[in-house]
């Protein structure tokens, strides 16, 4: 875990005038499945592929999901958090899962978070990193980015900093993402086309569904509820918190 081999980028080899901008960035991810409730951490392997001004981020769990009890349900598969970006078109497309378990794409804003660059500086091995902080969808994140790698990408939906994000975590350490390696290669990928379903619409839909399920659960005494803490109350926990 701690001995992470990172391939990057030195200097001084004479080469053609244009450098290779296709990168594959590997991250290790630690995610607390019981966020906002308790702690049950799982490890993931994540990959950020960058090619021709576009990026694709996805992660695969190293351990399978273990429900806390029979009512603890999870609607996303262990391979999730698929996120595409396009710098040219200034769009971000993320894969979401409905309560029926089916996947669909949502069009979201590209890097809407407002970053504040902090004076802290640290080295991750030889990489000089600067610290930045932002609030995004109900959580506060701390990111470390490398100005010497001048690409505005990062893991998941994070980005927009003047350098690659190499470390990212929320302040409660529910999500901890650390850089593993960077390589000069990237497989071709295509962005989903014609995604008109926006995040704003998705949030409205989620609000309606959760409200309906809560009302339904409040009269359902059989315990057949979703992530419920009691027989008559359903609680829903979203990583991207729904606005009130």
């Amino acid at each position: 875990m701690y001995h992470i081999i990172l391939y990057w980028i030195g200097l001084l080899t004479v080469a053609p005038s244009q450098t290779n901008n296709n990168l594959t960035v590997a991250y290790s991810v630690k995610f607390n499945d019981e966020f906002d409730r308790g702690r049950k951490e799982r490890l993931y392997q994540a990959s950020l592929e960058i090619s021709e001004g576009r990026s694709k981020y996805y992660m695969v769990a190293k351990e399978s999901f273990q429900p806390t009890d029979e009512h603890d349900l999870r609607f996303t598969p262990d391979s999730s958090h698929l996120v595409f970006t396009s710098q040219n078109e200034s769009i971000l497309i993320a894969q979401e899962y409905g309560f029926n378990g089916k996947a669909f794409f949502v069009s979201d804003s590209l890097y809407p978070m407002v970053w504040e660059i902090l004076p802290d500086e640290k080295k991750i091995d030889s990489l000089v990193c600067l610290k930045a902080r932002c609030h995004f969808r109900g959580r506060e994140y701390i990111a470390w980015f490398v100005p010497d790698i001048p690409i505005p990408y990062g893991p998941w939906k994070m980005g927009g900093l003047p350098g690659l994000i190499v470390d990212l975590q929320d302040v409660d350490e529910n999500l901890v993402i650390q850089l593993q390696s960077i390589q000069f290669k990237s497989s071709a990928f295509v962005l989903p086309s014609k995604v008109k379903y926006t995040m704003d619409k998705h949030i409205e839909e989620l609000k309606k569904v959760t409200q309906r399920l809560q009302q339904s659960a409040s009269v359902d005494q059989s315990g057949n509820c979703l992530s419920c803490k009691g027989s008559s109350k359903a609680s829903f926990y979203f990583w991207e918190k729904l606005p009130q």
Partner: protein, 877 residues
Amino acid sequence: MKVFLGFLIFVLLGSTVAAQPFVRKVTGTDGKPVLSATVIFKPLKAAEVQIFAITDAEGQFRVQLKPMSRYQVVVRHLSFETDTFFVESLPGGISAPERIRLKPRHQQLQEVTVVRKPPVVIRQDTVTYRADAYAGPDTRKVEDLLAKMQGFSIGSDGQITYNGQMVERVMIEGDDLTGRSYQLLTRNLNAGYIDKVEVLLNDHENRILKEQGSPGKVGVNLTVRKNLLGKWNGGVDLLASINKRYEADGHGILVKKKLKVFSFFNLNNIANNPLDEAEAYEEIENTSASQSGVSGRDMVLQSGELFPPDLPEKYVRNNNDAGLAAMLTWKSGKHTSARLVAGAQKRSWMANLSSNIKTFPDSLQAWQVSNDILQEQVPQTAFLRWTANTDKGKKAVVQYGIQMTFLRQNNRYINLTGIDISDSLLEQLKNVGLQARAGWRATMKVNKNVVSVTHAELWYQGIDQGLSNFSSRYAGYFNLKSGNYLQIQDFSVRGWGLSLGQNWVKKYSSWTMKIGGSIAYTNEELGGRARIMNIQADTAYHSAQIMQVKLADLFTSIRLDKWKKMSIAAELRAGPRLLEWKGARNTATGGNLMTEWVYKFSLLQTLRLTWQYSRDLPERSGFIPDPLISGNGAILRSISLSKPEQQHLLQLGFFSNLLKHQLSWSLRWQLRTGQTLYIPDLFVTPAYSVNGWQLASGNWSSMVMGTVEKYVHPIRGKLGLSIVGNALNGMIVLNQEFAITRNRSVFAEVWWAGLIVKKIRLETRFKVTGNLTQLDQQPAQTLWFPGWSQKASWQWSEQGFISCLWRASPFGSGKYAHGMDAYLHQKIGKRWTLRLQAHNLLNQQRLMTRQISAYQSGSSSYVLVGRYVLLGGSLQL
């Protein structure tokens, strides 16, 4: 009132100055727009925040620049060379290049392998810190390094605590060269010499006892960088200043496998004691009360002050010290070794010969002769100790030995410790052990009586590996001691103590809880046979991972017929989002003790509250015997009280950052009473800042002062009046500052002018301070202190500048000082910094310091520091 109203209007007008938009297009040399280039604006003023932008598909970016600000702009892209230029936001517009064209990158980045090492590794009872992760330009010595590491706390005397526990020794590569005087090591050794810092939570001088699972103390082991092993490392400082003050110190260290040598010296007449003992301080009475307007009691010659006030020679202390420690190891085969450690200081010396013969029965023998004043808390002590241990299988260890202590003072006596038996009966069942220890110790006093100490200890330690992710440890302590603990100046304490404790340790956190009590009897010294009862309870929670420390400590000592004393302390810190609370209370009644309350409260860096109340009663040298309920013996607490004085200090500060508006204010109220002075002071320091303007009011040395400050680039102007002009990319700033004090004192800074042309900055400053002071028992005086300075500087980049300052000001009544400072700063590459500093002052006697210092610092392998003093002539490497 009118003045403040004017300030307020001025600030409000200033707040309307809006940020200026800055738009540029980034293209390649072929004119095509560059997408996703990163543009970072680094403000040249450290207090401001960095801003940045990313270019869009058209290659454009847009930022909002603060007015009157200057930035270094760095434009980067993977396919292009990095471009750097300066941008200056002026009232008349923004000074910046119109075109940003990036040249194609002709260098291919190649792969390298980088290993990310964790800064802290915890393995069983050892916490290892990687020095690289904490080293920086401000970590010159090992002590600076330790202060940065979570869990460490450094006292003013250099004593180190780790998570609330006192560090007993600091070793270098596993060997103890300095004993309890480890400050000599931590305050002299270069931080760059160290590779890792290992905290041994279960440190034992006796290897056999450690193997048996006996609970140990906290020790620190420093490992040396591999490339510096076997090489001499050290430094020398020679300094001199006015009034013939001087200081010279240096150290050298050599670490090899079989030989370790550490030497140091410190010669000075500035009361700088390498061990920072209290005697290095000297209080000066009313030396300059008429000039400063405050009590002369403030004029305290601080330890290590190279530029003290102009004091009579009689107050100058000489504190010279020197020492040498060496360790030689002889090893034969796998199981047999001998080790000689010898050391000497100015006032103490020590020799220790130990042998380790690992045959059957396993034994460790040690002979030690030393004269270490810190070892026994008693001056002029020498002792001879011989101990041997025999390991009887895995279930018992027998320790036997003899110790003779020779005390050379008025009371000559020999302390004979005979046959100190530690018999451990261990039942090692799945890492759970029960151990009992019993022994006796006899002390024979030559000229009076014979006293004896009997102690028994019983403690339990269990190790539960538990779940795979956690390991925990439980320990309980039972300590019963009886006998006479203390024999100093015909004063003795006899008592019994009992303490119980529990310690839970998890991977990154620990929680300890102890409770105990003791009762003791004193002899006639304090006015009759006194019964003293001590009650102690403390609990602490430590989490190294998230830097949380919680410490509670209660200590009550009651002399049933005369005085009582109670102390309670609690501390809670949480980070990195700061939540800090500190509380301490010491109370005593009965004539010779001190009362002190200190409360500090800080919440999320927005609210700070400090209240301190202390009261010293009439001077009397005395000591409070504390027959401790834990540890190995009594500690003599010596308190020398000064003249009666009461002091209240209440400070409340509020700091808020609301969008771009910063609001801070603090209220400070101080009340002091003494024999001759009664000076209540009211400190009110509200401040409001927005857009670089700051309105503040402050109190300075019993004066009340109001200021309006504006960050006017490049000169920070403090002012009631500010005129800003712009001529040929330069500017002129005029400032006035005026304050009226409560004691009819006048403080005025008449004008301050600056001119900047390109990267050259010229400043002239003239200041007049008038002080009309009337103290309670002093006649009114009017003193005027004019002073002026001229400064020229040239900054060629963000990381490099040179400046030269000449100043003249009254140094005291009838004396003028002329000074010249030159300062060169250049950051070379990413790792190296070069600083050259020259300093020269001349007073009427033409005798001042001429000093040049230069250093390079790098985080890779070593720190090189050089300092040269022309007067003394020295060089430090």
